[in-house]
């Protein structure tokens, strides 16, 4: 199925020599917009954040963005004032390719931290990327490849929605959250749309969508210095800024794109053999549900059990028990892949062979934990934890 580029944008992805290892070779992407675009961003809350995060944070929400430059292979994190200057220069180079001003560009970086950006390579890369800018699907794929680090494949998602007689396009790209070697591979997302939307609305709906999607995935629980999701809206679809029901429809479609991208990240987790969806229901409030889902999703014992096709209700229930959320243990229930393992605070007889086979034979595993505290629910996506993950993360020396 073809994935369209939203109107108003051109993209490209090139290799400029930042990466030295054997991943996807593309390491620099350029995206330009033919008019001033609305931009919003959600960023890592890590106190140790990279230079491009600081730059983008200061430039969003806004409505005069013309270019985005993305590089992989170097995160420009822990690089001090020189890192800030390099990020600003990258923005300037990107903006110049479409005749925009230096402060009309955003920057996304991922890769090794504590190493200065190879600015000569970046300059040459931007020159090459500018020549290749186009709106076809191949260019979109190349741009999505330029942000990859340890990902085994690029990640794209899109939605087309009819709004007020027009078709609005939303297309996003992302890279994995897993971190490997010294590269500190970050979760990055860039969602483009041709909708007309105000900066305030863009920021609001992006924040809500990220909270329930990119912030509800866990690969290793490690929040990076560079995590960023941007929404950039060209407005090329025309019409008045989205409002009311149209804004709601758009928000829903944006959520779907963010969810598709977010799910693709654990699915491509390092060494992962299962995508685990953790549903938590019956909590007093959403924060409580999300906290339990997060703790279960990050439990090494839960994750290794799933890698081993072990329907280990004890690990799941006890992980919930230390999440710091009060609940009545005698009302807890648990299903794995639809098989009931635990009812009203006690294990029940189940077919262990069938349950184990169900985990082993399916890449998708569903964990449903229910509580008797209220109506709030949450959903997390995570991976299993395999020996291959450890091998990938241990067998590297800085």
């Amino acid at each position: 199925m073809a994935i369209p580029v939203p109107a108003g944008f051109k993209l490209s992805g090139v290799y400029c020599g930042i990466k030295t290892l054997g991943e996807d070779p593309l390491d620099l992407s350029l995206i330009t917009c033919d008019r001033d675009a609305t931009a919003a961003g959600v960023y890592t809350t890590n106190l140790v954040f990279a230079a491009p995060v600081g730059l983008d944070r200061s430039r969003t929400p806004s409505q005069n963005i013309r270019a985005i430059i993305i590089n992989s292979g170097n995160a420009n994190a822990c690089t001090g004032e020189r890192g800030d200057r390099d990020a600003a220069r990258m923005a300037e180079l990107a903006a110049a390719t479409c005749g925009a001003k230096a402060d009309q560009a955003l920057v996304l970086s991922t890769g090794i931290i504590g190493v200065f950006m190879p600015m000569e390579k970046i300059e040459a890369g931007v020159r090459d990327a500018a020549k290749l800018l186009a709106s076809d699907e191949a260019s979109l794929v190349n741009a999505a490849r330029g942000m990859l680090t340890t990902d085994t494949t690029h990640k794209l998602a899109s939605q087309s929605i009819p709004l007020g007689g027009r078709t609005v396009q939303i297309t996003g790209m992302a890279k994995g959250a897993a971190m490997i070697g010294p590269k500190m591979a970050t979760m990055l997302g860039l969602i483009l749309t041709d909708a007309v939307i105000s900066p305030a609305d863009a920021q609001k709906i992006l924040s809500i969508a990220v909270e329930d999607t990119f912030n509800c995935i866990s690969v290793d629980g490690h929040m990076s210095t560079n995590d960023t999701v941007l929404l950039v809206a060209s407005g090329a679809a025309g019409g008045q800024p989205l409002a009311g029901a149209d804004l709601g429809t758009f928000a829903k479609a944006l959520h779907a794109v963010a969810a598709d991208l977010a799910k693709a990240i654990p699915l491509d987790g390092e060494g992962a053999t299962h995508l685990v969806t953790v549903h938590v229901t019956g909590c007093a409030n959403v924060d409580a549900a999300r906290q339990i889902a997060k703790v279960v999703s990050e439990s090494a014992l839960v994750k290794t059990a799933i890698a081993g096709a072990d329907p280990n209700w004890g690990r799941i229930v006890s992980a919930a028990g230390y999440a710091g959320v009060p609940f009545d243990a005698s009302r807890v229930g648990l299903k794995v892949n639809g098989i009931t393992l635990y009812v009203k605070g006690a294990p029940v007889e189940f077919d262990r062979v069938a349950a184990s086979k169900s985990i082993r034979d399916n890449r998708d595993t569903t964990v449903e934990l229910s509580f008797g505290e209220g109506d709030a629910r949450a959903r997390f996506w995570t991976t299993d934890l395999t020996a291959e993950y450890v091998r990938l993360n241990a067998d590297y020396t800085t």
Copy 2:
């Protein structure tokens, strides 16, 4: 070096058939006291806690304890009212061996969860254990073995201290915190002393010691349903209840025993090849320091880096950054095994080969993270994370 049994206690350890796997075969330990002993306990804060935890919690602090029964192979967790009755019956059986009343005993259990205790085996085991009760070191070792699950060796520690013309003995035993298969292996500790001490003081100094020792270790971040540390004081050393400077001296020795036992747990962690000591200094308060130490100690990326002998400052610093504790990132410093990797918020040149070799060649790895926020500090012990850990935890089907 011989480890003495504190005066007033007799111990034994036997096999009664609870365990079926190939671990240390002993699975039931009995400890009796020839007079009413002071007892204090610190317990798991997991909302899903085992029957013996509920029983012990209701019986400590107190001063009439005569027996402790310990079993491995079955945690008596998630077993409902029948589990409570079984735990009470175990206490009754243990108390009867020394002519005490049913409520004068404490119970420690570890092992598989969600399975009822094999009470016939327990009854037979208590009968056997009662016949073997003795105060020699071999009996102490057998009692320490009876609590083991996946531990590769028993764990003992002791201190002899002169107090008011008498020699007071403190001797403790513990089992590992790692959890494996469906056995939910718990951290258990039992510290015996012949000191005379009030229940309130026993509880107070035990709580303080545990907070800084057993609560400052991390193997997999999973808090079990059964985690318990007990302090039982026979008073057989004689004299008045400890107070003032003597109580302080005793508290210090108790802390040392608790620290030795706590350190032995990650050192014997599943598949671990390194004992990692994480020192956090320069924080605004102890809670902040401890929170950072905990997050760094639990980071899968930090732990895999150490397994791979990778002096990966980026993973360590960025883990600190998401601990939820505010700090000025430009004042952060980091040393690994005494080698400076990071100063004032930026990486510095260091000999990577030497740093990697230092990690590879030593089982002990020291991580020192410094902040510029105050004078508070904390210390955590953790393990590295190896492929062997995952293999142990994944290759089991319930």
